[in-house]
Amino acid sequence: MGGLFYKDFIATKAYYYVIAMLGLFFFILLGHGLLPVDQETLDILFMTLILIIICTLFMVIIGNVEVNLMKADEGNKRRAYMLSLPVSKKQYVASKYLFLLLSFYTVLSASLLYIQIFIANCKTDLASGLIEGVAALLPVIAFTFLVVTAIELPFYFAFGTDKGGRVKTGLLVGVFFVGIVYILFGDLSIFDSWSLEAVVEFVKKHPKEVMILQLISPYLSMLVYYISYIVSCKLIGREEEA
């Protein structure tokens, strides 16, 4: 499976992302101390920058690495390619899932490191407080992205990246359409109490529930990811039978 990992690492051009992440590491490490701007502006600037970087890194996995990972073998006619491999179909599917899991782990680790570098250089309480909040929520954010990946992957395995992408877009349009129908004809009074303040209030009032959510989110998302893996294995098996 190590060979498959290496192949995927090259096929998805993941080395570019690693170089980019290392470049960002040195930029955040050195840039914060060297730019000739006053400290408060610098802190706000870098805080915004780090938030954008973290979001981009996670989006890159979902939008780019994942699609490239699946596309790479399609060009080789996946079925024939899988038969030529010295590993089973299950192991082939597992290698894709593990590759993406490792990508998330790497981005999560890099993000935590960036945040730590920022906090070490930051002298504005507001900025460091905000970023500490983001750091606390980062695992939850990462695991949410993992769930999205878990939902997407079976589509890619079943229909390929092009058709899978279309099915995914179709589903999103469907959900959007249902939403529009609800807004037009449904009871909107339930949204009256919805606001950011209400969310903050809920978090303050129910620290125990929030803590439980933070604790179980990794396990729940891993469970969803595992179920997604089983579904993908079955889909690949059915493709073989057909």
């Binding site: 730590q116 070490a120 125990k208 803590m211 604790l215």
Partner: protein, 295 residues
């Protein structure tokens, strides 16, 4: 060549860590600062960089499928999963046992009124083991960086030269010395204790020797550096949590214990016993392999 490689690896892993920490100290940096936190995190990545550097510099290569040297794979088959589970759980048991032992030796130090943080968090106490395991899993990249260096490179090289027991002792000493600048700054033992910093150096080196034995054993059993990384991360999380939340009345602890690393030395006893058990098991396995003529 093995000795040369050990030397290069040691230089590459020690120089950046010692250099940056000493520089930070000379610039007036304090242990209780975000800068020191960052240095501690980055230090944990230095051993893996040292491994890559040494392997490239000495043209040693990075192994093959038949001979994996970085041990980055995870194989849960043939009952190996139990070692991964142990990696997460053992630190909970030995850190709690250590605290229990301390209370046994100094029963008056137990403060049943649950002071400080413990009082506020009484309702959610049951979450700590799960929270610790989650944190150990999510934040294991630092521990992974260290473990790739020490457990997949230094220890096997030392074992090649001296055999299991001496490898664990020498490896533990090198690993302990690597931490000295941080301990000097106040890591683990704080500042102003009796015999500072040498008593801290001594206690911590003993700790690294025995924890090193556990980590080496678990790496050998699972043939994966991840198990050691999870063990290391879990150890860091649970020792920290246990010490932070223990129901201790410092006023009732004898002055000598309070002002010296004796407190941590006592808490470390269960893990030292576990380390000895691991050393015995490793030696037995080494002997049986020798008898079979595999060595």
């Amino acid at each position: 060549m093995t000795q040369k490689r050990i030397l290069i690896y040691s230089l590459l892993s020690f120089l950046p860590v010692w250099g940056i920490t000493i520089l930070y100290m000379l610039c007036g940096g304090k242990y209780e600062s975000n800068g020191m936190n960052l240095i501690l995190t980055l230090s944990m990545i230095c051993p893996v960089i040292a491994v890559i550097g040494t392997r490239l510099f000495t043209k040693e290569g990075f192994g093959s499928k038949e001979n994996p040297v970085m041990l980055l794979g995870i194989d849960l088959s043939k009952g190996k999963w139990i070692w991964f589970l142990a990696a997460f759980l053992l630190p909970i048991f030995y850190s709690d046992l250590g605290i229990g032992l301390f209370y046994l030796l100094f029963p008056k130090s137990f403060d049943g009124s649950l002071p400080g943080l413990m009082k506020e968090l009484r309702e959610v106490w049951w979450m700590f083991p799960i929270s610790g395991i989650t944190n150990a899993l999510v934040f294991s990249f630092g521990a992974l960086g260290e473990e790739i260096g020490w457990r997949t490179y230094l220890y096997p090289k030392l074992e090649e030269l001296f055999g299991n027991t001496k490898a664990i002792i020498f490896g533990g000493i090198i690993w302990g010395v690597w931490h000295y600048p941080a301990i000097y700054m106040g890591h683990n033992f704080g500042r102003g204790y009796l015999g500072e910093p040498f008593s801290g150096f001594f206690v911590f080196t003993i700790f690294t020797i025995f924890v090193g034995a556990c980590l080496h054993y678990i790496t050998k059993k699972t043939k994966s550096v991840w198990a050691a990384a999870f063990f290391h991360a879990s150890n860091n999380v649970f020792f920290g949590n246990t010490l932070l939340f223990m129901a201790l009345s410092k006023e009732r602890v004898p002055k000598l214990v309070q002002e010296s690393p004796v407190f941590l030395a006592i808490v470390f006893i269960p893990v030292c016993i576990l380390g000895i058990v691991c050393m015995i098991c490793l030696n037995k396995e080494e002997k049986s392999l020798k008898n079979k003529g595999n060595l």
